[in-house]
């Protein structure tokens, strides 16, 4: 059974269909990188997996559990109870382009938020877990700082630690390096690479093509709300079939050749 199973995912804003039937699986421990121009629906797709966005058709399963909606025997679609969905969200960690740390809490408190307020584990235990994770992302010395005192790269690493603190089955990365100064991108990618090596199941939306080739087990190229091409990085990047993917790669070729 795949860890993530997406079938014919459809989403619209009024008349505009932004996801036009997306289907793919992610196996346990697999790293899937999603590429695509802005407006292609890749971030929206990611947010659907965590149910930060509602979707109108198709289904998503995480480790066999339907996210957001269940379909009855008669084929009738019903939204799951909010409590059930919150429970499901716990299993999916998400890291955001704009970090979204809680500015009124210290770095340590940010990372402890999930374990304390969702899982309800003891403070001492939560703190030990949070310190472990901060060590992992190399920020143990910033534990008592407020996020505003950190660089973008550091904030994003805290964002990763905060998501990991829920010990999710799956991690989603939504253009996590796009808001960073170029010299800060490396430190964030390093943490992600380490996670991938440890066997975390990940979906990564990014424009870092070099990173996609290195770390991804599979690349999916999306455009206009649909999957255009997918395959192992070596193949698909060397021999793009569609014009749209070729065009996309050409635009980002600078980055690609540099590295």
């Amino acid at each position: 059974m795949p860890m993530i199973e997406i079938r014919d995912l459809r989403k619209s804003y009024a008349e505009l269909e932004v996801l036009k039937g997306i289907s793919f699986d992610v196996e346990k421990g697999e790293v899937v990188v999603v590429l695509g121009p802005s407006g292609s629906g890749k971030s929206t797709m990611l947010r659907c997996i965590n149910l930060l966005e509602e979707f109108q058709g198709g289904g998503i399963r995480i480790d066999g559990e339907a996210i957001g909606y269940t379909t009855t025997e008669g084929g009738k679609r019903r939204r799951r109870k909010e409590a059930e969905n919150a429970k499901l969200r716990e299993q999916v960690g998400m890291v955001f382009q704009s970090f979204n740390l809680f500015p009124h809490r210290t770095v340590l408190q940010n990372v402890m938020m999930g374990p304390l307020k969702v899982k309800g584990i003891a403070r001492r235990e939560a703190e030990a877990l949070a310190r472990d994770l901060l060590k992992k992302v190399g920020l143990l010395d910033k534990a008592d700082q407020y996020p505003a005192r950190l660089s973008g790269g550091q904030q994003q690493r805290v964002g990763i630690a905060r998501a990991l603190a829920m010990q999710p089955k799956v991690m989603l990365f939504d253009e996590v390096t796009s808001a960073l100064d170029p010299e800060l991108v490396g430190e964030v990618l390093r943490v992600m690479r380490q996670l991938a090596q440890e066997g975390m199941t990940m979906i990564i939306v990014t424009h870092e093509i070099h990173f996609a080739r290195d770390v991804g087990d599979r690349i999916i190229f999306m455009d206009h709300g649909a999957i255009v091409e997918e395959g192992p990085p070596a193949n698909i990047l060397a021999n793009p079939k569609s014009d749209r993917f070729k065009q996309f790669l050409r635009r980002y070729q600078g980055d690609y050749l540099d590295t």
Binding site: E90, F102, M113, V118, A163
Partner: protein, 216 residues
Amino acid sequence: MMPNVLINNLPYLLKGALVTLELSVVVLIAGNLLGLVIGIVATSVGRIGQSLITAYIFVLRGIPILVIMLLGYYAFPALGYRVPAYVAVGVAQIIYVSAFVAEIVRSAILSVPSGQIAAARSLGMRRFSILKEIVLPQATRIAIPPLLNNSLTAIKQTSYVSVVGVWELTYAAREVVERTLASFQIFLGVMAIYFIICYPLSLLARRWERRAAVVQ
């Protein structure tokens, strides 16, 4: 001889000040609480609820306090209830204040970036938990200065209850002036008393401002 008029009538005025103080405490506590609830509800209900609350806020903000006072005074008899005047105007003041508080609370809550709420949801946090841990702590910091400011206004506008014959500081002052004709001295004294009542809140607002600046 002149200042003696004020000194002689000071005990009477202070009795009025005590009523003003009592009225203020009741209006502030009830008005702020009611406004807080309305403000929080406004950010967590559907479109119809929001429209109703928006109407509540806009209508009340568009009415002079004096008109609200008179309306409150005549509303109860019109509806067939007999209530003491101070209750009628007290209720009117509370409702009036709550509209301003609700608007301050609502906009403070909405000023918390939606990305943070998405992050909290993605951790699996529930609505109430997000409100308590993420939204309200930040909204409070934003809302405190305007709320204190609003409270000062609320204290001062309790003087309007005097127009429908509710006895408090301003009413007492007018009585004394009618008796002594020393309008200038008496109102100077009344001014000082209002200032003394409001001064601690003004200080608090300043101190909070400084504290918030340090945290930033």
